[in-house]
């Protein structure tokens, strides 16, 4: 799980072009949206693509995203339970 969280942070930084943010800057429970990393709606769509592309997870209901993308911790937990690759 720890390795997955580190990998996920790296992939989020790369996929969302988070300049000047390193893996160490992102805490597992930091909110990804709003006060935390300050991601926007396009970033949310990119995260959905990332789940599909890297982990083979297709979100049937985009409304699920709110809970899944709350933090790296919640994302990693969901990936671990649902990944197909």
């Amino acid at each position: 799980m720890e390795a997955l969280k580190q990998e996920l942070k790296a992939k989020i930084i790369e996929a969302l072009n988070l300049e000047d943010i390193s893996i160490e800057d992102i805490n597992d429970n930091d909110p990804l949206f709003g006060e935390g990393l300050g991601l926007d709606s396009i970033d949310a769509l990119e995260l959905i693509v990332l789940l599909d592309k890297v982990y083979g997870i297709r979100l049937a209901d985009p409304k699920q995203g709110k809970a899944i993308f709350e933090s790296v911790e919640t994302m990693a937990k969901y990936i671990e339970e649902h990944r197909t690759k």
């Binding site: 969302l16 072009n17 988070l18 300049e19 000047d20 300050g38 396009i42 970033d43 769509l45 990119e46």
Partner: protein, 204 residues
Amino acid sequence: MTTNYHISNYCKIENNSLQVNGTTVLEMKDVLFPEFIKNASKAIELEYPKFFKMDNLSKLAFLGAEAILKNNINLDIENNIALVFANKASSLDTDVKYQESISDKENYFPSPAVFVYTLPNICVGEISIKNQLKTENAFFVFDDFKAEFMSDYTSYLLESGKAEKVLCGWVEFYKNDYKAFVYLVEKSGTTAHNKEVIQTLYNK
């Protein structure tokens, strides 16, 4: 058309060089656009994380605009600034990238973040969002830079009272070839605003 308006500031970005009002702010050798524009953003002390999410055309236009607006305009007071931009390649550089991302049906992962930049006038929107400009704006696609058209269109906006200032720009980006020429037209200034001067500054 002769007007009483002036070009108060201008910026040029090409060949890994950033110039503001004829003064070189940054010049680099043997680097590609992403590295150059990142350094250029630091050179003008741009602190705007969303800049790094933009496509190349928007980065070019945005940096050209900020190089002028950041230190010369108090946007809390002077915010009736229209935006008139143009280029030749439209958003083709990003269009091609997006097409590549959807061309392989076995590896079909279209990027929303790329897709949103598949229109040339998005770069004008980025400038407006950053500076809270709710003003007239236009983006034209021409075969080449048309100084007379830019001059006439700008004069119309100013003389009809639709704007107090106009930020104009030619921002061309395709396959790592790029050129930005951005200039601000307003009442004050010493450089005349007419097609000859605009063309001369563009060519310089």
